[in-house]
Symmetry: C2
Subunit: 82 residues, 2 copies
């Protein structure tokens, strides 16, 4: 039961960046998005990904690998269209 | 070493929501923020928090407890000022 909650949690927080990335790509409206947030968040996700690889945790590196790609897209748009 | 990377990762991804929350409170500019993202993300964070409590993992419930408060603030502003 605990593992299922953890997996659903990982799925939700990972996939939640998809609508944000789609919205940002479509509208290029990044005025309300914080550059500090996405810089720090992307850096943190790289560390999570590394932690997942080093501790051999498939859910951790898989979820953070996907999140990293999405957060990076949002960050690139923020830098390009600010 | 692996644990340190995990802790720094948790710190970065948690604290990254602070500049976003501050920006959103100050500017009330939520046009570029995705409602779907923050709804799904907040729900996911509640599950992470529950998972942390159930699996007795202090870093997981502590980090996600803080993230939950920050994500909830952003979500409330998004709903109020859209």
């Amino acid at each position: 039961m605990t593992t299922i909650i953890g997996l659903v949690a990982a799925f939700c927080t990972t996939i939640s960046f998809l609508p944000q990335a789609i919205k940002t790509i479509q509208t290029k409206d990044t005025s309300g998005i914080s550059l500090s947030m996405y810089s720090l968040f992307t850096f943190g996700t790289i560390l999570w990904f590394t932690y997942g690889i080093m501790s051999n945790s498939v859910p951790v590196y898989l979820a953070n690998g996907i999140t990293l790609i999405l957060a990076l897209i949002i960050l690139i748009y923020k830098v390009r269209y600010k």
